[in-house]
Assembly symmetry: C2
Homo-oligomer: 275 residues x 2
């Protein structure tokens, strides 16, 4: 599903960037560095708009009616639940342009009925505003109605990264759901560990080599097969000890129980339970 084409040298399309959140910030800066011209930035919040506009060295507006009609691409990176409000007003400015959103969980068809040329440029990454991202390794999922527009979106993605995949909207939704588990939820497991140690005056830092090793393994083994630990072998003695330590934090105890059961059910289904 990954393809890369040799694109002819021609002027890159102009971009109007809609949104000034984490994704807009990182994507805007990276596209500018890749040679795209961000001709205008829109954000409802004046402080966010001016801050990012300064970084991108472009003008900004805070009123959707003032968005430029001269962009080739309108790249919309706002919260999913803001898309519905932004789209009807935005498309009026330049109905023949290419409209893209950057959301993992929103169908491409959110544009349907408003414009003809639309698509998706979804960077699969965890962005924190103050934490630099190396886009070279970021995976992009792209989609567009017309092949010529898909070429444009693909070119944008390849100008930033080597990992570009084409998916339809339903597949992308599953990718996004999987990413919530692989990124957001795994991070929360670290956060729980951090807090448990913090309460006992212990540091999380000595656990980092273990975290690194866990990830190193899944670069070589599939994560179902790489599973280790008391829940996999259903070591009730250890699990009872852990559960008694968690008596004072019912929410975490509940997660401990559910995740342990799920680990064990995977192990029963697919592998000999033998470490």
């Amino acid at each position: 599903m990954s393809t890369r084409a040799g694109y002819e040298k021609k002027a890159l399309p102009n971009i109007a960037l809609i949104g000034a959140g984490n994704v807009a910030t990182h994507l805007g800066r990276a596209l500018k560095q890749a040679g795209y011209k961000i001709i205008q930035l829109f954000s409802r919040t004046i402080s966010s708009a001016s801050e990012l506009a300064e970084k991108l060295q472009c003008p900004y507006v805070t009123d959707l009616n003032l968005v430029t009609s001269n962009a080739d691409i309108y790249l919309v990176s706002v919260k999913d639940d803001a898309l519905d409000k932004v789209i009807p007003q935005l498309v009026k400015q330049n109905p023949n342009a290419l409209f893209l959103h950057t959301s993992g969980s929103t169908s491409m068809n959110v544009w349907e009925g408003y414009v003809k040329r639309y698509g998706v440029l979804y960077p699969l990454q965890t962005f924190s505003k103050r934490f630099a991202v190396d886009f070279k390794t970021v995976t992009f999922y792209v989609e567009a109605v017309y092949p010529t527009d898909l070429d444009i979106v693909r070119q944008m993605a390849y100008s930033l990264s080597e990992n570009v995949y084409e998916t339809d909207s339903e597949q992308r939704l599953y990718v996004h759901l999987a990413a919530v588990f692989a990124c957001n939820f795994s991070n929360h497991m670290y956060a729980i560990a951090y807090k448990l140690l913090q309460e006992k005056g212990l540091s999380f830092v000595p656990l980092l080599p273990l975290v690194d090793e866990t990830v190193r393994k899944i670069h070589q083994l599939n994560p179902v097969g790489a599973q280790t630990g008391p829940a996999r072998r259903w070591d009730r003695m250890i699990m009872n000890k852990h559960e008694s330590l968690l008596k004072t934090c019912p929410g975490i105890a509940d997660i401990y129980k559910k995740v342990s059961e799920s680990i064990h059910s995977y192990a029963i289904k697919e592998y000999l339970i033998q470490e």
Copy 2:
């Protein structure tokens, strides 16, 4: 809590290794490489015993009554629930030796009443039998009754790694619990992602850069602050979509709900919910 002393050069103690599981295998090989002599291996299972004994080039026994009485250190790396059965018989061979176990969740006092010199050498790592481990970065937690024995255990740990910490048994139990979250449970989040994608014919590999980045972040930010995603900002629209995709897997849907709630409760407590 970390210390390192300059040890005088003298003959390293001889070790009898009790157990032939993942930890025993990796630890035995590493200690041998570090110059320790493994003078005998015990495992109840003849196939495991002979396989590991060949790697360690040492004799093996499968009957606890035949364990050597000549070792300086008896290093016991068996399942936690087997410790109680092994200890009473094992200690008879050489009651004045130093007895160590390698368990994160078992108190040092499991030896109390049986022998005088005892302690713990706990490597905090995820071991799979067929997956090589670089011990240099493995964190060790050590404990012993007598300072002279603590020196011996510390020396063993430092011969393998630079990350050596002293903890008491209660702290170690919390470290082990935290490690279950940081390693076993984070890995299960990858496993769930893997299976969700697999069911849609999609590959997990494009998610690896995201997983790497998530871990890179917590080397610099604490994981509570590094949290991103729909649960942190309580984006019900996305979460509803995800929950409807998970309707056919109630166990996973339940984990989705509980972990999301937990992420959000951390975010409410400690941070402005603003991404």
